[in-house]
Symmetry: C2
C-alpha cells in the first residue's frame, strides 16, 4: 500500500489545498516523504455531509455486520505487516517492539468491540409492560440506546496506532453505530494514511455507505475547530494536552447545540509508598518505578510523575536505589521535536521551583530530540505551597515528595487534582493506612492500583481509563475498555410503538436473544 | 409541622440575612406567610462544608440503609397529609387532585430508587480475572460505580413536589450516595420547607451525618451561582427554563473544575398526525389533543406545543373539533404571576409572526394570573422560515402546522430542535410513513410515542425524560426513571487491590449477591 499524502474523504482520496505538512523522523530530524497538504473548511464540510448521509444506514445495520466490519479493520491493520511498523517507527521514534505491541492492542480493541456488539448489552434494552388496568393506565414502554451521530476523533501523538486513526475512540464510535471523522495527528501522517486506507477499504468491502469514515489532515487548530463546530458532529474523542483538550471543550460548548467532548488530558499519576512496603522492598520498588518512569520515554498518560513517601531510613534506601537505577538509563528519542522542546521546558520550570531539587538523572542525550530522565525531590509542604509542582511534564520526569507523617500524606492526597491513576505500594501492616488513602484516592482517580505501576492499561471490561478533571473532561467516561462505547450512545424510549415498527432489540419474544431488563428483572429469554 | 421561613442547613434551621421572600397565592395575588429570607454565600459555604464532611460516611453506608432512608422520606411526605397538599395548592394554584397525584408520584420515585439500590445493578460491578501466565500478565481488575460527590438540585416551578425538594433529582442523587443541597423554587417556599423538614428528620432518624441534606432559599441568580460554582459541588440537577438552564451550564463550565449539569429545559413536543389516523379518528384526536394541551394549564415540559398534519378534508374535521373543544375550556390560574406574564408575552409574540394566525381559544380569564388556552395555525413553509415559531411558550398554547405532503412533513421533522418527546398518530396504513418519521424522530427526542399524548411521564425502568439539546443539556441522561441515578455516578477501576480492602460489591464470592460481569459474562452468583 502506497502513501500518497492524500486525505481520505469517504471513498475518495483528496489532495489538501492548505499548507504543506511533512512527517519528521525525530531521531534524525529528517523529513519523511511524501508531502501532505492540509484540508480546510471545504473538506470538513464534505466529510461531514458524507457522514450525515451515512448515519441512518450505518446505524440500521445489524450489530453482527458492524462486528464483522470491525474485525475486518483489525485484520487489515495486521496485514499491513512491516510496512506499517516501519513507517510508524520512523515517524514516532518508538521502538519496533513497542509498536508491534501497540498494533496488537489496536487489533484487540477492535475485536473487543466486536464482542461487545455481539453480546448486545450495550443496547441496554429495557421493557416495562403496559398495565391497562391501572389508574392511570401504564403504556407499553421500551428503551434502547442508539448512537449519538457522527463523531470527530483526534489522533494522539503518543499512540500512533492505539489512540489514533483506528484507535480506541474510533473503534468505540464505529461500534456504537456512529460514522467517524478522524483528524490525523501531524506527527504520524503516513501511519495515519496507511491505517485510514485499511478502514476505507473495509467500508467498501462491507458494502457500507462511504461516509462511515473519513480521515483529514491539517496544521494548527483551524481544521480541528471547524470539525468540532460543524453541526453534523455530535461527539468528540481526544487524547492529548490539557490546553488542546480544553480548547476543544470550549469550542464544543460554544456551539448553538453543545456536544460532549471526551478529552483525556493530563495526569501525574501519584504513587503512594507506605512504610512497610518501603522497608520490605523499597529498593525493588525504586527500580520498578524507574522502569515505569522511562517506559516509552515517559510518553504515557499514565507515566508516574509523582512518588510520595514518608521520611525515614527506608526512604533513604529507596532514593539511593532510584538514583542508581536512573543513572543507568539512556536518554531516548521523543515523539516529536515539539514534544521534546516542551519536555525540556517543563523540566526547567520544575527546576526553578524553590525547594524542589533535582536528585537524579539518566544519561545525557546523544542525539536530536532525546530526553534525559530526571527525578526531583521536595517536601510535602513545598509541594502544597507551589501549584506548579503538580503540573504534568510529559516525558520521563518525576517528583519525589517527602511527608513527615501519614497525616501529611493523606492531606496531600486530598489536595491532588483529578488523575487517571493513583497507586499505593502497601504490605499487610500498611493496610489500615492504605484503606484511608483508598477512600481519598477513589475520589481522585479513574483507577487505583496496588503494588504495581500505572503504565500498562489493560483493554478489558473492568478497565477505567478516565478520571476526574483535569485527567479528563468527563469523569463519567472511560476511553479504554468495553464501556468506552457508552460515550457515543444515548437512550430513547419507545411508548406504545406498534409491533411492526419496534426496533429489533425491543421486539416481543426477544428475537436477538439479548440480555434485557423486563419489568425490572434481567433476562435473556 | 410548622412553616417557620427558615432555611435548613444540615440539622439546623437558619434564618437568611438577605432579601425577604414571600410566597404568593397566584389565584388571588395574596401573600402567604410566613416571610422567608434569602441566603447568600455564607449559607452556601456552610451547607457545602457540611455536605463534603458527610460525603465519605454517607457513600460508605450500605445500599440497604440508603434504601430505607429513601423510604422514610417517602413515608414522611405522605404523613404530612393535607398540610402539604393545602400549602402546595395555595402556593401553586394547582388543583388538589393533581397535587395528590404528584405526591404519590414523588413517593413512588423515592421507592423506585430504594428498589434500584436493593437490585444493585447501579453499581455496574465488573470483574476481570488476573491472567498471571499471559505475556504481559493481566492484573486483577475490578470496576464499580461510586457517587460523584455533593449535588446541587434546583426546584422546579411546575412540580412543587415531584421535581423539587424531594423530587426525582434529589431521590436519584441521594440513592447514588451523594449529599444534596436543594435551592428551593421561590414559587413554593412553604411547600419546600415542609418537605425539607421531612428529609432533615429522616437524616437524623437514620443516624446519617447532617450534611446529607440542606435546603437553601434565595431570590435571583446569586445564590444559585454561588452554589453551582462552589468547589464541593460535583453535579447539578435542574428543571426549568432554557435561559435558566443555560446560565447554570455556563457557570459550571467556567469553574476551574467544570462539572456536569443536567438541565431539562425546553421542548415543544411535536405531534405528527398521519392521514389514515386522521381520517379514521381525527375529531377524537383533536379532542384528546386539547385535553393534553390544557392539562395542568399547559404547564408541563411535555405539553404538546406543535401539531403537524397534512392538508385535506380530515384536517378540516380535526381543526373544527379542536376549535370546538378548545372553546369549552376555561382559563385557569398559572403557577406564578411571572409565568403568567411570560405566557401572555409568548402568545403575543406568536401572534406577531406573519402567516401564523390564531384559530381557536378557550374562555376568557376570570381571575388574576389565568391563562386562556390558544391554538394557532400556519403552514410548514412559514414554520420553516421563521425560527420564532419553534420557541417554547410555557402554557396552554399550541401551533397547528399544515404540510402539503409527506415529504414536507419529514423535512419539518428533520429541521426540528431536540425534544423531550415526539408523538406519531398513525393507523396501520400509515405505518410505512410512520417508520420513516420514527427514524427521524428517534434522533430528535428522548421518547417517541404512538397514538397517545406526551403529557404523563411514567416513573419506571424504561422511561427516558431527556433528549437532545435544547430539550436537555445532556442527551445521554434521563431525569425520570430508574436510570436517572446514572447521572450521579462515575466508574472506578480497582487493580490488584488486596482482598481486605476491596469494596463489598467487588469482593470474591459476591457476598452482596449482585449481578456482576465476570470475565465478560453476567452472573449473580
Amino acid at each position: 500500500m502506497n502513501i500518497t499524502g492524500d486525505m481520505l474523504i469517504g471513498a475518495s482520496a483528496v489532495r489538501g489545498t492548505e499548507a504543506k505538512l511533512q512527517a519528521i523522523d525525530p531521531a534524525t530530524g529528517d523529513v519523511i516523504g511524501p508531502d501532505f497538504h492540509g484540508g480546510g473548511a471545504a473538506e470538513v464540510e464534505r466529510a461531514c455531509a458524507l457522514a450525515e448521509a451515512a448515519f441512518d444506514e450505518y446505524r440500521a445495520i445489524s450489530p453482527e455486520r458492524r462486528a464483522t466490519f470491525l474485525e475486518a479493520i483489525a485484520s487489515g491493520i495486521e496485514a499491513l505487516g512491516d510496512t506499517l511498523i516501519q513507517r510508524a517507527q520512523r515517524e514516532s521514534g518508538l521502538p519496533v517492539a513497542r509498536l508491534q505491541g501497540e498494533r496488537g492492542r489496536t487489533a484487540n480493541q477492535l475485536r473487543l468491540f466486536a464482542s461487545v456488539l455481539r453480546d448486545g448489552r450495550w443496547q441496554s434494552a429495557t421493557l416495562d409492560s403496559a398495565l391497562p388496568e391501572r389508574t392511570p393506565p401504564r403504556p407499553d414502554l421500551r428503551m434502547q440506546k442508539i448512537p449519538v451521530g457522527p463523531v470527530a476523533v483526534f489522533g494522539a501523538s503518543n499512540f500512533p496506532l492505539a489512540f489514533s486513526v483506528a484507535g480506541g475512540d474510533t473503534a468505540a464510535a464505529l461500534a456504537a453505530g456512529c460514522p467517524v471523522i478522524v483528524k490525523a495527528h501531524s506527527a504520524h501522517l503516513g501511519t495515519s494514511e496507511l491505517v485510514g486506507r485499511v478502514i476505507q477499504r473495509a467500508v467498501a468491502d462491507a458494502g457500507l455507505p462511504e461516509g462511515v469514515f473519513s480521515l483529514l489532515v491539517g496544521a494548527g487548530v483551524n481544521i480541528g475547530t471547524a470539525l468540532v463546530t460543524h453541526p453534523v458532529i455530535q461527539a468528540v474523542g481526544f487524547t492529548g494536552s490539557r490546553a488542546g483538550g480544553l480548547a476543544l471543550v470550549q469550542a464544543a460548548n460554544n456551539r448553538p447545540q453543545p456536544i460532549p467532548v471526551y478529552a483525556e488530558m493530563s495526569s501525574i499519576n501519584p504513587m503512594f509508598l507506605l512504610p512497610d512496603a518501603m522497608s520490605n522492598r523499597g529498593p525493588q520498588i525504586a527500580r520498578d518505578f524507574v522502569e515505569s518512569l522511562v517506559l516509552g520515554v515517559g510518553q504515557f498518560c499514565t507515566n508516574p510523575g509523582l512518588a510520595i513517601a514518608m521520611e525515614g531510613p527506608s526512604l533513604d534506601a529507596f532514593r539511593e536505589a532510584a538514583i542508581a537505577a536512573l543513572t543507568e538509563k539512556a536518554a531516548a528519542t521523543m515523539l516529536t521535536p515539539g514534544i521534546h522542546a516542551a519536555y525540556e521546558k517543563g523540566v526547567a520550570q520544575l527546576g526553578d521551583i524553590e525547594g524542589l531539587k533535582q536528585i537524579g538523572a539518566g544519561k545525557a542525550p546523544a542525539g536530536p530530540n532525546q530526553a534525559r530522565p530526571v527525578l526531583f525531590e521536595t517536601t510535602a509542604q513545598r509541594f502544597a505551597e507551589d501549584h506548579r509542582a503538580q503540573a504534568e511534564v510529559f516525558g520521563p520526569s518525576s517528583v519525589l515528595v517527602v511527608c513527615q507523617d501519614q497525616a501529611e500524606m493523606v492531606a496531600l492526597a486530598t489536595r491532588l487534582e483529578g488523575q487517571l491513576t493513583a497507586t499505593i505500594q502497601a504490605d499487610a501492616p500498611d493496610y489500615e493506612s492504605a484503606g484511608r488513602l483508598l477512600t481519598v484516592l477513589e475520589r481522585k482517580a479513574g483507577r487505583v492500583l496496588f503494588n504495581g505501576y500505572p503504565t500498562g492499561v489493560e483493554v478489558s471490561h473492568a478497565m477505567v481509563h478516565g478520571g476526574p478533571f483535569p485527567a479528563t473532561s468527563d469523569t463519567r467516561a472511560t476511553s479504554v475498555g468495553a464501556t468506552a462505547i457508552e460515550r457515543f450512545l444515548r437512550p430513547v424510549c419507545y411508548q406504545n410503538v406498534p409491533a411492526a415498527l419496534l426496533p429489533e432489540a425491543l421486539k416481543d419474544g426477544n428475537p436477538l436473544g439479548l440480555w434485557r431488563l423486563q419489568d425490572g428483572k434481567l433476562s435473556h429469554r
